[in-house]
């Protein structure tokens, strides 16, 4: 019974792998694979659920296997099953099954049929890893899978400008959510001195006892979790991403952005509830955030004149309420609300094209020129101001780019001295740094203390430059890879730890770094030019295999869970002390930007309209 939990992850994994090897032309086989995967998952889920309910519905925790172990550190995969998982499983597999069935016909003859089902199954894999995860590390694996799958689904129409741009935008927000999780993992490692499982967290006495001594760490962990949850569930101030995610075929938008993906923030809160249950300040913050979001999102939903964004914002508003319900401790209501909201929004999105004929007909019989809404009773100035703010979505997107991305871009663009040749000079200095690590005594203690900061700032500089680089894809890539090396160097000074940790981390980076570099070289020689990053160039149209290879490298370089570096990140982070706020801030910025920058290079080079092929869409279409 216990060990069968693994199958919930294995079934979608198998389905995904099978779908990868089926040839493009075989529509029936492809969608059949997805259909069988989702169908069998649903059946298995139902059977399991019955069995579980009849057997006293105990919480199940399964420590599956240890991925990596060293002194004082253990990275293991852990599965967990309780009523929260049960509800998310039921809703998720039902909707996925419905939507794969739907898409079998809907996507017929569409270019990218295979890509679509690949991405759906990949997404579903990530979803299941998340909901079955028994510790933050396992959850993080699924979380990352979801991020990439979302990127691919939003950029499904990859030869148009807007989907690619919006996919990148959503990916950036997801990346912020990732950092929330990483911070939570980092701090809880210091708090518990182990990789804590959710089942341990639900042990109240242990939690209260621990937190008693480290109350500020406890609050900080909770807020990190909240950051991750809010970004993923499109709460304020991240709400703008959800309607921008509606770029793919309607069914994929319906299921992922209408229901499953967007409710995972709520899942995270439900899962960690016992941890922050006794932190009133955190509960109040969540309630306030939920309330603010639900009110503002409702306002924005009311002014939307396009059907999908209207549904998106109403869904966000309901999730705001779900947040409140969770914070108030009404777990069951929250679960019920989640299920209802997910079903409702999925269906509304699926029938959204019908709204034209339906409402036009209704108006034909019941038209009243203009109904008075409650806003009309407000004072003019207030009415207009609020309306305009809602129409502009409270400037959320602008504020984010103004206060977060833009400053980073400005700093990055100042670093003009970083050229391909320029980076070569960094190699000797890096070697010196490395030498110093082995021979610390050469340098006075005072200096030594500052070295981690210096090196991490260099790492940040490299990745910032990579983030804004326009002229040379190669350079951007090299900087990205180098940034990992400097970061490791920085942290090596911080604490003495075995070189196996460093090797684990850097081995993956190096392998994928070289692979990515070779891919760019190959593209350069095929296209007889030096690929730049000034605009989207859509080379995946002519070089789909190379595109796939490069995407693979991007995932590797951004420490996606296909490489040992993934564990390395967690490991290296665990060597940053809990009082080194600056260092952790710099490191996590590096981490966010590495991912965004890698995917940006991929998007600029391989996605978007390919002007050389002649047939292109208007930019704004």
């Amino acid at each position: 019974m216990k060990s069968t939990l693994v199958f919930f992850v294995l079934i979608p994994l198998l389905g995904f792998l099978v779908s990868l090897i089926i040839p493009k032309k075989k529509e029936n086989l492809l969608s059949g694979a997805a259909y069988i995967t989702a169908g069998s998952h649903l059946l298995f889920g139902l059977a399991y659920l019955c069995f579980w309910l009849l057997n006293g519905h105990q919480v199940i925790d399964l420590k599956s296997f240890i991925v990596y172990e060293s002194v004082g550190y253990e990275f293991f995969i852990d599965f967990y099953f309780d009523k929260v998982t049960a509800v998310y499983l039921l809703v998720g597999s039902f909707l996925t099954f419905m939507v794969t069935t739907y898409s079998r016909y809907y996507l017929h003859r569409e270019r990218g049929y295979k890509r679509f089902f690949n991405s759906i199954l990949f997404f579903y894999l990530g979803y299941n890893i998340v909901i079955f995860s028994g510790n933050l590390e396992t959850l993080f694996v699924g979380w990352e899978v979801l991020g990439i799958a979302s990127f691919l689904l939003i950029a499904f129409y990859r030869d148009r400008y807007l989907p690619v741009k919006n996919a990148l935008k959503v990916f950036s927000v997801y990346r912020i959510a990732d950092v929330g999780l990483i911070l939570a993992m980092w701090l809880s490692h210091h708090l518990w001195h182990e990789n804590i499982t959710f089942s341990r967290l639900s042990d109240m006495t242990a939690v209260t006892e621990h937190l008693h001594h480290h109350s500020y760490i406890g609050v900080f962990i909770s807020l990190s979790i909240l950051l991750a949850a809010a970004a993923k569930s499109a709460q304020m101030p991240f709400s703008y991403w959800l309607s921008r995610a509606m770029e793919g075929p309607t069914p994929s938008s319906a299921i992922f952005y209408g229901s499953l993906s967007v409710h995972l923030g709520a899942f995270l809160l439900l899962r960690t509830f016992s941890f922050w249950e006794y932190q009133p300040s955190v509960r109040i913050i969540i309630i306030v955030l939920g309330l603010m979001t639900s009110i503002i999102a409702t306002g924005i939903a009311r002014v939307q004149s396009s059907v999908k964004s209207q549904i998106a914002y109403s869904s966000i508003a309901q999730i705001g309420i779900i947040f409140i319900e969770i914070a108030l401790g009404f777990e069951k209501i929250a679960l019920f609300h989640f299920a209802g909201n997910a079903f409702l929004r999925t269906y509304q999105l699926l029938v959204s094209p019908s709204i034209v004929s339906y409402l036009i007909k209704e108006q034909f019989y019941n038209f009243t020129p203009r109904s008075i809404t409650f806003e009309d009773t407000l004072p003019r100035k207030m009415e207009y101001s609020f309306y305009m703010l809602c129409l502009k979505e409270f400037n959320m997107d602008n504020l984010m780019s103004r206060f977060l991305w833009k400053p980073l871009k400005i700093i990055g663009s100042k670093l003009t001295f970083l050229t391909l040749k320029g980076t070569l000079y960094f190699i000797p200095s890096y070697l010196i740094g490395l030498y110093v690590v082995y021979n610390e005594k050469l340098i006075s203690k005072n200096v030594l203390e500052w070295l981690p900061y210096l090196f991490s700032i260099i790492a940040l500089g490299l990745v910032l430059k990579s983030f804004v680089e326009q002229k040379d894809a190669k350079l951007a890539w090299v900087l990205l890879v180098f940034n990992h090396f400097w970061l490791v160097l920085a942290i090596s000074f911080n604490e003495h730890f075995g070189f196996d940790h460093v090797h684990l981390y850097l081995s993956g980076v190096l392998f994928f770094g070289v692979l990515g570099y070779l891919s760019i070289l190959e593209l350069n020689s095929l296209e007889k030019l030096n690929v730049d990053l000034i605009k989207y160039q859509g080379y995946s149209r002519n070089h789909p295999k190379l595109a796939f290879l490069f995407l693979f490298s991007c995932l590797g370089v951004s420490c996606f869970p296909i490489t040992p570096s993934f564990i390395g990140v967690d490991l290296i982070f665990s060597h940053v002390h809990e009082n080194q706020v600056v260092l952790i801030v710099i490191s996590s910025f590096c981490f966010i930007l590495t991912g965004i920058s890698a995917i940006r290079i991929y998007a600029r080079v391989f996605l978007g309209p390919n002007e050389k092929s002649g047939f292109i869409n208007y930019k704004s279409s």
Binding site: L107, R244, I295, S314, G340, F343, Q348, S385, Y618
Partner: protein, 833 residues
């Protein structure tokens, strides 16, 4: 403010813009038209080359596609050579053949439009599209919105710009990010020139700049322009001017640049080293374009030749059935009715069918019972003076679907609804996916008029007027219409006991393009009311009496009966069946069997194009599957609409009755003998050229450039304000036809085949300049068949030449069903056995 010798005239430029912007109506009245109507004053190929050079549209299939068609035999070598020789002379044949088949050509550079405004990005580093478009689209969509938003634009009745000005004045927040643009707007006396001076500087560049700007989002601009000219195309009317829209966009552009650089920046003129070519100046010769035009002609004539050879194949005249006709049926000229007519004639050889525009010569507004508006039921350009109302129904409540309720989007009610209705949605989703059925979301022709309602067809008292419309027709008015109809199709004697008049419409769900599938001659509505109305008129004793004096004797026994063919579901309903005499009722029951069987066969013939249906399974099962498509949420292709159109044949049924035309022909019945002067022919062609030609070219351009002239794939479409679709949340409107409707279309210009004496036809088409333009500028092709000699005349450059089909004969199909089962592709012309 303007200098005396100003080179820029805002009004004229706006008029020019309006001419070239897409002219597509809101979705509910989607009417097909020539996408490049603005170029119609030029010859087809020249116009296409110009459109390509100026606006960057793809206007032909790509060269490699033509070469593939040639290799697979779909372009005939003989015809290709003939066209080269005609254009280039004998000695050039080999040279051009090589160019056509082998040489490599580079895809041309940038179009002229967009050249200037792009400098903001390349030279200034401001991406105005990204900065301005999302907000601009959002504001204009909210202003025009027809009922999606719950909280509407706070001020709207003053028109677009005044409303925004008012809001900016009184609001505490602003659409602008900086002060200058906002202050400019609040200042009342603002003209486009003032803003262009700030942005562009040099007056001679203004026109180019505005074209660049508006063609960066031609979907929205086109919609604004259309609504300005046709405010009543929206149910909830809006006042807007393209001028105001442009002015507001210019302000947003200034705002975006100010935001990045402060107010000190210099206008664009400073970056212009070489002035761009004047947009509409002489088009450069492009050999590639010439090659493509040769390929296009060869592609078209390969098909035309086959059809003409088929028409030319003389068949032994069938001996008239001595018992007379069993029944006669009038259908719409629509290409989708081409096959059902064939089946009806095949299954009952004593029957006879006719084709005529599906409004059946009765033009009126229709008001269904309980409806608050009038619906026009005649070709779009006509403005009727009559009103027909639906009455006599007990209840008129349309079915509701809670998923479209606005309350689902409110905060607290949404909280309750999501936890109650939400679970119902899960159930509905399951049912709709595994057992699709008709629901409130389905748009269906059957609901256009209730089968059991009554209509106010007869004008009892001539002062019964409503909103300047006369309710019903007088006897004289009825007589004129019946006479006109019957004479134009050549049905003036040998009436069968029942004459069916069958309009058409369609059913679909999840389809914003539902209106395109109904009858084009009824302004994109089903033709059921018209069918019923004309039948009533033709049955009226007074009308019959009056017709006698005009030479039409309809036997008393003969009854007209209205009906509706749903082309998506392949179902038929008949109206007023109770009015049939007992003996006719009996006959009708027999005829119904013929119709039902024909519908089954028709469904089968259509199904060969659908990959998900195996054409070889039983008729019943195919028909069931075809019907399911129209109610399945997940079916983006409920029917294929006009996807196969290529011909328009105006003449007696004898011309084509022996041919299998694969649903590719508009068939208009016409008897030249009754119309020696071409009076009726004039009316037919005046309507058929723009309607059939419009449909044909809309398909043509959406097919050859689905990305710029078509709507792209339907799957990610997001409904904007109930009048248009866009991709995602921030996209431009997508006019044109979506990929799912055109993917099987062969982009051929339509060929008109008219049966009459060449002189009469020439005189007829020349009567009206607008009609003549279609023919003389070759936007449609024309062949005239001389009814006496059967000789064919090709019309080109204002004169005729004799056309002899290269093919002598076309193959004969033993059983057409075998051919239908054999292939998904277009089938060749067959002679039916």
């Amino acid at each position: 403010m303007k200098s005396a010798n100003s080179s820029f005239n805002a009004k004229e430029t706006i008029l020019d813009l309006k001419k070239f912007l897409p002219a597509q109506a809101p979705l509910k009245d989607f009417i097909f038209h020539n996408t490049l109507k603005a170029f119609q004053d030029q010859k087809f190929h020249e116009a296409l080359h110009a459109a390509n050079e100026i606006f960057g549209y793809e206007v032909y299939l790509p060269l490699k596609d033509f070469r593939m068609l040639y290799d697979s035999g779909k372009i005939n070598k003989q015809i290709l050579e003939k066209i080269i020789v005609e254009r280039k002379g004998d000695d050039q044949l080999q040279l051009w053949l090589n160019k056509l088949i082998k040489d490599n050509y580079k895809i041309k550079n940038q179009p002229r439009v967009g050249f200037l405004r792009e400098k903001w990005k390349t030279d200034f580093g401001v991406d105005l599209d990204v900065q301005v478009h999302p907000l601009l689209f959002r504001i204009i969509c909210s202003f025009l919105d027809q009922g999606i938003s719950i909280w509407n634009f706070p001020i709207w009745h003053k028109g677009f710009l005044p409303s925004i000005r008012e809001m900016e004045r009184k609001s505490g927040s602003s659409f602008f990010k900086t002060k200058r643009a906002r202050n400019l707007l609040i200042n009342n006396y603002l003209e486009i020139e003032d803003l262009l001076k700030i942005l562009v500087g040099d007056e001679t560049l203004f026109k180019q700049y505005l074209f660049d700007q508006q063609f960066a989002h031609q979907g929205w601009s086109g919609m604004v322009s259309f609504i300005e000219d046709n405010p009543n195309s929206l149910i909830d009317e809006r006042r807007i001017k393209l001028y105001d829209f442009i002015l507001f966009e210019l302000l947003l552009e200034i705002d975006a640049i100010d935001f990045q650089y402060g107010e000190g920046w210099l206008p664009l003129e400073n970056k212009v080293i070489n002035k761009p070519l004047e947009l509409f100046s002489q088009i450069e010769y492009s050999e590639l374009n010439e090659l493509l035009s040769i390929w296009q002609d060869a592609y078209e004539w390969t098909y035309y030749d086959e059809v003409l050879a088929g028409i030319n194949t003389q068949l032994p005249v069938k001996t008239e059935n001595s018992n007379g006709k069993s029944f006669q049926a009038l259908f719409c000229i629509d290409d989708r009715e081409c096959s059902i007519r064939r089946f009806v004639e095949q299954l009952d050889t004593a029957s006879e069918t006719f084709g005529t525009p599906g409004f059946f010569n009765v033009e009126f507004f229709y008001q269904p019972q309980g409806g608050k508006f009038y619906t026009k039921l005649c070709p779009a350009p006509v403005t009727p003076k009559y009103l027909i109302k639906e009455i006599g129904l007990k209840s008129i409540k349309p079915k509701k679907d809670e998923h479209f309720l606005k309350q689902t989007h409110s905060l607290l009610r949404g909280w309750i609804i999501s936890q109650t209705l939400g679970f119902w949605s899960a159930f509905r989703l399951f049912v709709q996916i595994f057992r699709p059925s008709m629901s409130a979301a389905t748009a269906t022709s059957l609901k256009h008029m209730d089968k059991f309602s009554e209509l106010t067809i007869e004008n009892i008292n001539s002062d019964r007027i409503e909103n300047n419309l006369q309710i019903g027709f007088t006897h004289e008015e009825m007589t004129q219409r019946v006479e006109g109809l019957l004479k134009s199709i050549g049905l003036v004697k040998d009436f069968a006991p029942i004459v069916y008049v069958i309009g058409h419409g369609s059913s679909s769900v999840n389809n914003p393009y539902y209106a395109t599938m109904d009858c084009g001659a009824c302004s994109c509505r089903p033709g059921s009311v018209n069918a019923r109305v004309i039948s009533y008129m033709a049955n009226h004793p007074k009308v019959r009496e009056a017709l006698k004096s005009r030479g039409i004797f309809i036997p008393e026994e003969t009854q007209f009966l209205g009906g509706l063919h749903d082309t998506g579901r392949d179902e038929m309903v008949f109206y007023d069946e109770k009015s049939l005499s007992p003996i006719n009722h009996e006959r009708h029951e027999k005829n119904k069997i013929v119709f039902l069987k024909s519908l089954d066969y028709n469904a089968k013939e259509r199904s060969r194009r659908f990959e998900s249906i195996d054409t070889k399974i039983s008729l019943d099962r195919i028909h069931k599957k075809v019907m399911d498509r129209t109610v399945s949420l997940f079916e983006p292709r409920p029917e294929l609409d006009h996807a196969t159109n290529a011909l328009c044949i105006v003449g007696r049924r004898e011309l084509t009755a022996h041919l299998f035309l694969d649903r590719r022909a508009f068939l208009n019945s016409y008897d030249y003998k009754l119309d020696p002067q071409g009076t009726y022919l004039f009316n037919i062609l005046k309507a058929a050229a723009p309607v059939c030609g419009g449909i044909n070219l809309a398909y043509y351009f959406s097919r050859v450039d689905n990305k710029k002239l078509g709507a792209g794939t339907k799957l990610p479409h997001n409904v904007m304000g109930l009048f248009g679709v866009a991709n995602g949340a921030d996209g431009d409107l997508r006019p044109g036809i979506p990929n799912q409707m055109i993917e099987i279309h062969d982009p051929l210009r339509i060929l008109f085949v008219v049966e009459h004496f060449p002189e009469v036809v020439l005189e007829t088409i020349q009567k009206f300049a607008n009609t003549y333009e279609w023919f003389i500028n070759e936007w449609v092709n024309l062949i005239v068949v001389n009814p006496d000699t059967q000789q064919m005349f090709l019309f080109k450059d204002g004169k005729y030449s004799i056309y002899k089909p290269l093919k002598n004969t076309v193959p004969t199909a033993e059983d057409i069903m075998n051919e239908i089962e054999s292939s998904q592709e277009n089938l060749p012309v067959f002679i039916l056995k």
